[in-house]
Symmetry: C2
Subunit: 392 residues, 2 copies
């Protein structure tokens, strides 16, 4: 007889059952068999030579995806939020002024994070669907004199692709680091870290265009960013995200050997490596072009159904995540629920400032095909036919 | 012709190759096919009802493994270090006094983390292989008046299983939270969160006794811990690890619905769930007993070879990770390298304060069998025969 006070839970006696569905929300996206299989390789040690080789491959793959020569390029053991904290925890010291461009949820979250570590947080706010001109940004840089500017390249809550040209140069003129969130955009929209706007810190997640499971987050730091980070007066609040430790674990520093930092999620590294390999095989420009073509095909299809795109300016539409104005007279939640139930297909409502305003459809990485567009359009048509329309 | 400045890396054109080896170091341990297969299920959304159901199963499994009724029980999206930061970030405010029992690397790291968030860090230090009596702990509690005491139950760097009886009661007498690291011990050594010492915060990792890939970290908070945490004057430094957000994501609060916090690593949740299911099937007490029997068998075998156990007191020997006094006259690194090359089997050297002093062998979860002990003993015999012995 057991003397334990908590018995084994009955629910764990049932086999694990996971449905297979079309993941056409803003992420995670579907993971193709090749990447699933990579992740199912045997677990080896987080300090074995073979994992260092795989991490080195990942580093090269990220440098390619980001179009950067930065030595300080690695993957954080976490999701996009972890990468966001990694950037802010390392680049910002208490009392320093930062500027967050808020045109959706990501700017809000960056502001929340920076406040927690004692930064003086300034925000510039645009309505959902909007973005900022370089003139507006220059004005704010002059006013707040921040050490860091945050911009979300792909604002997946509103479907905006933020123009980046010229912002990096402005930042450098005012001695400010340029931090860019590309979780929803990189690989699916043109982005060259070293050229386009000279980005100082860029990060993304594994579960969007890369089609790997969530759990790793590529990040890269420019020489300028490293200069500031490695001359801090205070230690970053997190040991786990301290760049000097991460740099050593990822072989990005000049130390002769690596010291145990944390146990890297090796299985997630395998699948991230494979996602990067798939992107390298297709070629970044081909992937950009494919996402653009498919998005335009999708947008035309939506408009021909009488639906409206939430982002007015064509050039500011994110090719990976499309926001559709929530159809008038319908309950958006009924539409997404109907489509999930009837078509086994995820599309989603708004997030943060866009809740209630939009439907969101993500077609990222291998999901970005015209056949999938046709499937989504058919599901939407069916939903609009069967869901309740108010008599207004 | 591509106009990109960084070409696709050649290294990603080679197929991913991962060796299969016996993982008998201090972790990660081998992941059996059933758990690998669970992790290879399709990726679904981090907010889908099916993942909430899986998270609920995980919660029940952790409550069983920890032997706790705590409602505030969940898995952090990260490794043991993330859980350690989650505990400290939430339970400690700047300026508060904490006490770290340091008898190996984990106490050192907890001290490092607490310093970073502005706590007044006090340490009590025992030499590698040692631990603390309740009298010593009471003295230190009286002296430093900490809000939190950290103890590593399984100090995997030195092979010590720290006795916990009575410490929780002492902590409560002096109005202090009792934080216990059980990354290397839980599931393999008796531990009952709610009884034995009344632990306030307990965490572990997925990659040890649970035999899941690294990347998730079970954690549980007592009502007392929650009382302190939810009455903080300042916000925790990390949004990602803020317990009020995590509690909502894991359905541990009383809110009617869940708000998007971060994208949980769903594949890692599948394998964690399966690791917990395997433990529940065997039964916690059976698992404790098996680890004890196998460890004693191993220790006897080592002593009959003339090797010495690093931890003198039998009752303080960790049944999951055994530390062997580094054989006199040998280079420990040559031994571990020889065994890896010749036997495809990982054992490791020391870590932190135990570097150069010990060899470490981990037999955790499914790896804890007499057949594996025989394999390790044979490999050690072979290594001592073939590695260089100095003429001293």
């Amino acid at each position: 007889m057991s003397s334990l006070s908590v018995p084994p839970p009955q629910c764990l006696r049932k086999p694990l059952v996971v449905p297979d569905r079309r993941m056409f929300g803003p992420g995670p996206s579907n993971v193709p068999p090749r990447i699933i299989e990579a992740g199912a390789n045997p677990v080896i040690g987080h300090m074995h030579p073979e994992i260092f080789e795989i991490m080195s491959n990942i580093k090269s793959g990220i440098q390619y995806m980001f179009q950067t020569q930065n030595k300080m390029t690695l993957a954080v053991s976490g999701t996009g939020h972890t990468a966001m904290e990694c950037a802010l925890f390392n680049a910002v010291e208490p009392g320093e002024s930062v500027l967050m461009a808020v045109n959706g949820i990501w700017g809000e979250r960056a502001a929340d994070m920076a406040e927690r570590i004692g930064a003086r947080v300034n925000t510039m706010v645009a309505p959902p669907g909007g973005f900022f001109t370089t003139a507006e940004i220059e004005q704010a840089l002059l006013k707040h004199k921040p050490v860091l500017l945050f911009v979300a390249h792909g604002e997946s809550s509103t479907g905006v692709l933020h123009p980046l040209d010229g912002i990096g140069q402005l930042c450098h003129k005012y001695d400010c680091l340029f931090l860019v969130d590309s979780v929803a955009s990189v690989g699916g929209a043109p982005l060259c870290m070293d050229q386009q706007g000279s980005i100082d810190i860029l990060y993304t997640g594994s579960q969007k265009v890369l089609n790997a499971p969530p759990g790793t987050a590529p990040i890269s730091f420019s020489e300028r960013a490293c200069q500031k980070i490695f001359n801090r007066k205070t230690k970053p609040v997190s040991f786990f995200l301290d760049l000097s430790w991460l740099a050593n674990y990822w072989g990005c520093d000049d130390k002769p050997f690596r010291v145990y930092h944390h146990t890297g999620p090796v299985s997630a590294f395998y699948s991230l490596r494979e996602g990067l390999a798939v992107l390298a095989e297709e070629g970044l420009e081909n992937s950009w072009e494919r996402h653009k073509t498919v998005a335009e095909y999708f947008h035309a299809g939506l408009e021909s159904m009488g639906l409206k795109l939430f982002v007015k300016e064509k050039k500011a539409r994110l090719p990976t995540v499309t926001t559709i104005v929530a159809p008038h007279g319908y309950d958006w939640k009924e539409i997404t629920t109907y489509i999930m139930k009837t078509h086994n297909l995820e599309i989603s409502g708004g997030l943060g400032p866009s809740v209630g305003l939009v439907l969101r459809v993500g077609l990222m990485g291998c999901n970005s095909t015209k056949a999938n567009v046709d499937m989504v359009l058919a599901a939407l048509k069916d939903a609009l036919k069967h869901c309740h329309k108010s008599k207004v």
